[in-house]
Symmetry: D2
Subunit: 270 residues, 4 copies
Amino acid sequence: MRKRDVVVIASSTDTHAELLQRGAAAGKAMFCEKPVDLDVVRARACAQAVGKAGVACMIGFQRRYDPTFAALKARLAAGEIGEPEMLVITSRDPGAPPIEYVSTSGGIFKDMLIHDFDIFRWILDDEALSLFATGSCLTDPAIGGVGDIDSTAVTIRTRRGRLAQINTSRRAAYGYDQRFEVLGSKGMLQAGNHKPTEVFAHTADNIGHDKPEHFFLERYRVAYATELAHFFDALANGKPLDITIQDGVKALELAEAATRSWRERRAIEL
Amino acid sequence: MRKRDVVVIASSTDTHAELLQRGAAAGKAMFCEKPVDLDVVRARACAQAVGKAGVACMIGFQRRYDPTFAALKARLAAGEIGEPEMLVITSRDPGAPPIEYVSTSGGIFKDMLIHDFDIFRWILDDEALSLFATGSCLTDPAIGGVGDIDSTAVTIRTRRGRLAQINTSRRAAYGYDQRFEVLGSKGMLQAGNHKPTEVFAHTADNIGHDKPEHFFLERYRVAYATELAHFFDALANGKPLDITIQDGVKALELAEAATRSWRERRAIEL
Amino acid sequence: MRKRDVVVIASSTDTHAELLQRGAAAGKAMFCEKPVDLDVVRARACAQAVGKAGVACMIGFQRRYDPTFAALKARLAAGEIGEPEMLVITSRDPGAPPIEYVSTSGGIFKDMLIHDFDIFRWILDDEALSLFATGSCLTDPAIGGVGDIDSTAVTIRTRRGRLAQINTSRRAAYGYDQRFEVLGSKGMLQAGNHKPTEVFAHTADNIGHDKPEHFFLERYRVAYATELAHFFDALANGKPLDITIQDGVKALELAEAATRSWRERRAIEL
Amino acid sequence: MRKRDVVVIASSTDTHAELLQRGAAAGKAMFCEKPVDLDVVRARACAQAVGKAGVACMIGFQRRYDPTFAALKARLAAGEIGEPEMLVITSRDPGAPPIEYVSTSGGIFKDMLIHDFDIFRWILDDEALSLFATGSCLTDPAIGGVGDIDSTAVTIRTRRGRLAQINTSRRAAYGYDQRFEVLGSKGMLQAGNHKPTEVFAHTADNIGHDKPEHFFLERYRVAYATELAHFFDALANGKPLDITIQDGVKALELAEAATRSWRERRAIEL
């Protein structure tokens, strides 16, 4: 691997598609931040270009490299709780981004839940058969004003009959809430939040500990580094990439289906 | 209040409707275990009879009297986390009842989730506007054999736009799992499981504590007693009942809607 | 067992010795609240009278019947953490009793730590070889004014070389703190505090849960009932008592030694 | 600051004293790993040389820079729990070092508890008035064979009457146990262990989570880095060092007193 063979795309979303296609045409190995694009058709075209060029292309779903999430996945894969049956994902931001960002974000499903859709596919190792999404604008009327929502509830049933539920909010007063739990035939594995410290305070009010790490830059600091380390290690040593552009397309398809489900108030078959 | 003025109905479900109507006709105050009936029309007729007779009638949703659930409700009502926005209920039994019971239970939504539908109404103090339910038979094919499912995922949107998700299983290898959490505008309140003891074991394997109390007789032992104490206290002192037959009908209507949603694979407007 | 054969002594401490001796003389089975007496010589005389009369006599160390403590003891006895090596006891009251009580209590070691000395003997199943106690008056000068202390630190080394540390305070702002932990050759068992509910609140301030149950009447409610049930069950069925007057004397001897160690600023050999 | 002005001493303990004195004579700023020396007289001589030369000299008590410990100290200093009254330190290694190391380590008090003595001084911001130490050889007879012990219990009373207890073991089957808690007039602050991940497993056996991070290299990885960053930052910006050679001498004096207390079976006045 030489330096000039690799492209890392971390620019704004609307530039991804063109850069991916130019990189593919130039035969570069590529790392691209999620999402591939806000438009599913264009994302599929990128995937096709990458496939045709035969170049490596990884999409940045960094959460797979979070130490807690990765350990849970490994223990699940090792059979610790038997066959997975249900997945519950809680994914809440400490606060919404500026309304200017929201209005061009592609909507909460493509902007925020795309990570949760990837976690869903990765953890259950299965694909969605049907999906139902609903939501509300509860935290800030301005979000509704630009046609978006800030609170969502998604239910997915997979090909193997497994069930997943995702609940999301743009605002959790107690901070960045990133939890999920998997019920299996022999038990349950939970991924809890990370705390900055292990100080516990016992006072006349309550017994309390730290809120979760503030936001994604704190919580996923290690994950971002591990993700890129995997990318370069895979390239350098001819290993397969953990995450491909197909994963980026699949997560986007779920986000697209969720958006339609919410707008049309009906379950979507996939 | 004299002893002969009160009827406590704790017989099998198929006897409730007739006993309720006879009790109403006889002018008795009544306590009746859930569900009112498996049939919504008949349940409504009972409610009508009770209303016409002007008798007190409480339905046994004992979970409202669980110390943890009741404390959470009181703190929510006191405004500790502001306005409620989302509710996530996890409700799992340690194991399924005998298949003979399952086959006459009215299905998992009327038999098991009816409690969760009541919790939903009680905690959010709101009514369902739309409901989507799906599910699978994952733990025992015999359950599917009698036309039922053992794993469910329900999503409800309320009149005020609040969201609720319920996930349920007939089998959790680690025991009776009875948790819920409410996200509000100023924070979150969680109701955790009860453990038999506060022993923590640190070994070469892990740091571990007790599984939850075994099943409903253990977990809701205090709740059952408090529930009946409230019933008799209300009667004796002329106070209003916390739970009426209308609550029993409303929970049953949600269970009915969930059953239809699951069978017809579509969201139900209420 | 007939009713008239049993005496339960729950009167004030200064009446215990005479009642025990009169009960023994009358051939009664007896249950007596701790301590046997504030004076070791008189306590030994009571034990002698009981032994000579051949009557059953149980001392009320109710903590042994606390569900958490009893489960820990059973798991320790079953070998879950191998051989016990170290014991750390934390024992703190929410607040001091009235100064009138303190001044006639026999001092903190006989009044408060006598329970902890019994826990020490029961959990380690061993006897003290040497003991060192120190302490201070830190929470209320009035306690020092009557010659007592409110904060203590005790270290015991046993015949088998095991180590125990006890820390005690008359005042913990967060409530009744009753914890201990045993380090063994294969792990550690901890007994944690009991909470009234399992509500967890996540707010902008912290993630918090309930303080411990308020004081001994709440925390040991179940233990007091189980203790007396054991006493009557043992009498009715000819079983040995779990706790005898000898245990009462031994705990008092440790309290006496601790008092001397604190006053004389030196380790005491036993 | 130029590179040649600074000496970092991380060689074996028996080389510290000479290097410190040569560094002082050469006018270098120095960072030296604990302990200053195993001999109190020699350590004092080093401190004198440093003082005379007027050079900066920091001793490596890295635990003060652990995120949890540092946060606790800051909250204590901010008055969150009022005036500190009692400190309980639990300090246990996952396993003993090779017996060759033990035999030249200066004994458990100087080798292992020296860190805890520094934590004691730092957290309570007070000095010992009296100290009692006892201990046993419980985990490996070879340790006793070289005249040392592997399990200790230390009690300290400070000039202001505050109490501290330290319990230590060379072997905890569940891993590196590094906890302490401070009782204050308004509450308690606890420092808990750090876990590698926040995965919680619910199985038919128990509800369990990760053991603590394996040993000091894992637990104090961040602390070691922060410690050196402080050293260089202080030098570069003319700030005072958090820890001086006097702190190294004081901790060693406590270790020396503890060794004497244990050998002579008596409390030591300081």
